[in-house]
Structures are given as C-alpha cells and as structure tokens.
Symmetry: C2
C-alpha cells in the first residue's frame, strides 16, 4: 500500500471516519472536508449523475420530488458521500478542478472540467446549495458543492471537441473497449463476438476488436431493428440475432466458435451461451454486472469448456482517451450513440 | 456445436426431455436410459457424493434419514438426475465403466473405476437398489444404478497407488492447481500469494505455484494453527496470518504486492483484499464460489487497480492427473490432506 509521507493513503483511508480500518467504499461515513491532502484533488461539483438503481429505489420509497431531494441531502450529510444505503450504489459526478495537492499523480490542473470515473460510493462529497436547482424528478442532479479525488483515483478531462452528453455517455462504458483491445491484441485473436453488440459498451467493443486486428467480428443482438442499426453502422463483419440467454440459440447464431467473446448485455443468464460461442483455448470477457460468478464457473466446468473467463475490470489505464478516440475515428460508433441519445431524450 | 452423425450432441442435448432446447444442467428432466449413444459412456454407479449444500437442505426439510432417502429417490426418479430443486446443486459419483460407445473421446475402457468431475446436475442417473444400503444420515450415498457420460464430459480414472478417499479429495479441487500452473507460467510470475493456502485447493495451488517457477510463494491463512501446519508442510516461502475479508489486513500481511493472487477461501468478501495484494499488471484468480462478480469488478475500479481478474474455471485439460501428480511428489501437500482427513473422519 502506498502511504504518503504526510500520513495519507492513495486510496483514501485517511478519509474514513467510521468504522475504522475499512476502505472508503465500505465506510459508513467519510471526512468530506474540501481541503486537499498532499496527493488529493478538490473539485467544484456541477452535477451528480445518480446510479439508475439508486434513483429508482429513492423514487419508489419517497414518492414526490421534494422528498427524494431531501433523502439525497440527508444521505450525503450523514455519510459524507452519495451512497444509497439500500442499493449500495452511487453514480458519478461532473465538475471543475478547484485545487490540486502538490503530490497528486492524476495530472489535473485547476480549471479542468472533469468527470469522475470512480463511483460516488467512495467519493467524499459536500453539498452546499441544498440541491435547490433539482426538482428530484430525474437522475441528473444539478448541484453545488465539493468532492475529493484521492491519489489513486480516476477522472477524465471532458474533451472540448465533443458534446458533453456524448462524452459522458462514452466515459460511462470506457472500460469495455479498452479491455477488449488488450485481450484481442494479447491473444492475437482473429475472431471476436460481442454479445450485445448494439449497445454502448458493445458498439465500442466491436470497434475496438476490429482496430485491434480481428478479421471476423461478429455482433450478436436481440432484435431485427438492432441488427439493422449495427449493419448500417458497419461495425461488424457478421450481425446475428439471438436471445443471449439461450445458450443453444447463441451457439447456433455464432456458428464457428470465436477466439474471444465479449459479453456486454446487462441481463442475467448469458454465461452459458458465451461459453458455448467460444472456441477451446479462447477467452470470454464478462462486462455485464448481471453476470453470475457461479453460473460462469460451473457452466464452463459442466460443458468441459477450456476457456479463460475474465471479470471485466472497469479500469484499464488510458481507457477514457481510448474510448473517446474510437468514437472520434469510427463514424458508425458515433452514429449509434447519437441515435441512442435521440431515443432517450425527453420530448 | 459438435453434433455426431447419429444425431447426438457432445454436450448431451439429445438426453434433454423437458423443456426442449435447454442444456442438460438446466433441464427439468433427462432421459437417463443406460444405453450409450455412439459418443457416450455408461457407468455402473457405486456411490454418490451429494453436494454439501444440497444434503443440508434435504436434511433440514425432511428430518430423519428414511425421509431424506425417499426424497433423493423421488428427485432422481422424477428428473433423471440428482439435482436438488431447491439448491440447484448436485454432487459427483464413483463407479465402474460398463460400456463405452464407439465414438467416445474420453479414453475410458470397460472396468475402469472412475469419479465424475462434472456435476450430478447434468448427469443422467438411474437408481436400481432403492438406496437400501444408505441410512440417509450422510452425504456419502452407497448406490446401485447407472449413469451416463457425454462425449464432452470429464471423468478421472481412480489411481491404484492412492487411497480412494485421498484421490477423491484431490479430484474435488483439481481445477485450482491446474489453472494456477497455467497462469504462473503464462505470466512468468515470480511472486504468488494463495489466500486460503492451508485448505485443499489452497495447498495444491501453493505447490503448483512453486513447481511453475515462482520464487516468492506466500500463503495467507486465518489462524496461527493453520499457519503452523502450512509452515511445517514447507509449501510456502512466507506464511502470513490475516482475515481474508479485511482488505487492509490482507494488504499489510502480504506486504510487497504479488504478481499473481489465487483466492481459495470459501467465504464472501475476499475480493478487495485480493485486489490490494496484487501488483499493477498482475492477475487475481478467483476459485471461491463465494466470489461476487460485482464486488470484484467494482472493487478493482474503485481502487483504480489495473489487475486482470479470472473466474476460476474448474476445467483445465489434464487437471486431474496434474493434481494427483502434485500430491504424489509433494510430501507437504499429502501431509495436509491426510491431517484434514483425520480431522473430519468420524470417531
């Protein structure tokens, strides 16, 4: 563990108030004071993006917007971070760098507009405006206040050449293409299947697979409409339609098994199909948070499948820049992202 | 998918009666008739080892031994396999090869005594003796009947030079040392930590790490007693004591982070400690079924940890022979296994 000379720790242990000796994510309460330790960065917060599951729980529990707002204020005041005690989840935030400690390794400078790529569940946070600009009716929370980034943290500077919403949408899933790139290159894989290839992480992973040298890139999607969109975007050599939860349907749709399968679809029960779609000696990368560890482990064993199975780590050094670069250089990816934004935009 | 000319499939799809189109493990009911398809093997069953969780549930639900026995008979009669409908789990079996289909790729011959290394949850099974030799009071079930192995299945021939209980005990965990060997060699790793190094899979993994060339092998164990046993067995260069669920305690105990961490301890909450114990660019192999996919993925991201995380696949080609070989050539491993057997033997 890296502990700075001033007694702080790169993972923020010095910010933990209660209980003693746990990591910030497990803490009940953090010291959120906006004074940086030597390796920390303090950010003026502009907006919180609450995790969808967390917002849904708050809304169902508290009902109207004012009550939801009061609940968020109470959580942050009590815990020094926005971690929903029921769902355990947080979200991310947008802001501007206010102060950089002399030993910060993050490479940020005062005035940078940044998005945090580590969870709000471990980010010290103070809210100073009573959330007066938020009606409590959506996950996007306009907010004045401060947040702290530790020495070992992740924040991306928002690029000036892209619309903010588009950048945030890419940054939200930037781990997937970076790890896909790394795995495809490390294995010199020629064939790659992305299950859920029409989604955000999926379309970026398709682009990453091709850029990394795969010559047979297969997108598996659930519907004809999505298949047409991915085909039009030109991101895959083959676009096939199957229910990712049906192992036999997946295997039949993919045909000749691939060397690397990337699971980007956030529904439960996709483990066995992914294993069956993958050739002996190949690799499955699970990015879906709906993945069951035991279903993957026992499924591969039950199928006597000699496949390597990776837990998709959301952090790969340089992942934010890599994903933004793919968006810039791959018109098909950008088209899919923009179409998605139009679909989800409020009328 | 490999489908033989006779219409069978290497993963046993032709044995699924209900519902149609699912894998044998997901099936409600299998055709368990003891007539081999061309690539199948039929085994005369001698003993079932019920999964511990399954047996516990049956015992708690049904109470006395006769009722537990009746419940197992009913499950197997109804489903054509021993899969507890509540826990979803099965177990494994011991038997002797009765008949080998002409296209079987398993390399077995009539008369071989074998243990199945795929789960009972997908193994077609018929019981013919009414379990009359079983009192229902333990997980070990003497049993006459038949089982079927598919083309793509895993069975180990029991070696003649080792006591049967010892062999079974090793075969039960043989995936861990085989994957440890593979990972340590692939990464040319010099430093390896095994969390839970005193257990069955842990001690074999320690031996595998050293045999694969690691020069700093660290065993992390929970108690002083276990530490002394591992030290006496000479399986590790360093033996440290910490609660694997406490990330900071784990990191402090391990000290200089290792290149490969193997998690072999079957308790929940070991993900963050394993990540912290691992150097940047290193690999964590999770063998514990208590591993949480999301805790691992979000934990690594929250710690900005660039580590590769593998789901421990219980199947690596040659794993049974490899583990038995380690036991034969590593006196310390055998000593730990035998001490464990003495502890758990009934008085």
């Amino acid at each position: 563990m890296t502990v700075s000379r001033a007694g702080g720790s790169a993972i923020g242990l010095h910010r933990v108030l209660e209980p003693e000796g746990v990591l910030p994510q497990q803490a009940l309460r953090l010291d959120a004071s906006p004074v940086p330790w030597p390796d920390e960065v303090v950010v003026d917060v502009e907006r919180l993006n609450l995790d969808a599951a967390s917002y849904r729980q708050l809304r169902e529990r508290h009902g109207d917007g004012a009550a939801v707002r009061a609940a968020v204020l109470e959580i942050v005041a009590a815990r020094g971070k926005m971690q929903n005690p029921v769902t355990g989840s947080g979200g991310m935030l947008l802001g501007t760098v206010r102060e950089v400690g002399p030993d910060s390794p993050l490479g940020l400078k005062v005035g940078d507009r940044v998005a945090t790529l580590v969870s709000l569940t471990l980010t010290p946070l103070v809210i100073t405006d009573g959330l007066s600009d938020w009606d409590g009716l959506g996950e996007q929370v306009p907010c004045k206040g401060t947040a702290v980034l530790f020495g070992r943290s992740i924040a991306a500077v928002l690029p000036e050449d892209l619309p903010e919403e588009l950048s945030l949408s890419v940054l939200d899933v930037c781990g997937a293409p970076a790890l896909t790139d790394r795995v495809v290159r490390a294995k010199s894989a020629r064939s790659v299947c992305v299950i859920g290839g029409g989604g955000k992480s999926g379309s970026l992973s398709l682009a990453a697979a091709r850029a990394a040298g795969a010559s047979r890139v297969v997108a598996l999607v659930p519907t004809r409409g999505e298949a047409e969109a991915v085909r039009a975007a030109g991101l895959a050599d083959e676009v096939v339609i199957a229910d990712a939860r049906n192992p036999l349907a997946v295997a039949q749709a993919v045909g000749e098994p691939v060397e690397v399968t990337v699971v980007c679809v956030d529904v439960a029960g996709c483990e066995h199909g992914a294993v069956l779609a993958t050739a002996a000696g190949g690799t499955v990368v699970f990015f879906s948070m709906a993945t069951s560890f035991s279903a993957a482990a026992l499924g591969a064993e039950g199928l006597a499948a000699d496949v390597e199975m990776l837990i998709g780590n959301g952090y790969v050094p340089g992942h934010a820049e890599f994903a933004l670069g793919l968006l810039r250089t791959t018109p098909g990816v950008r088209a899919l992202f923009e179409a998605r934004e139009r679909q989800t935009a409020k009328p």
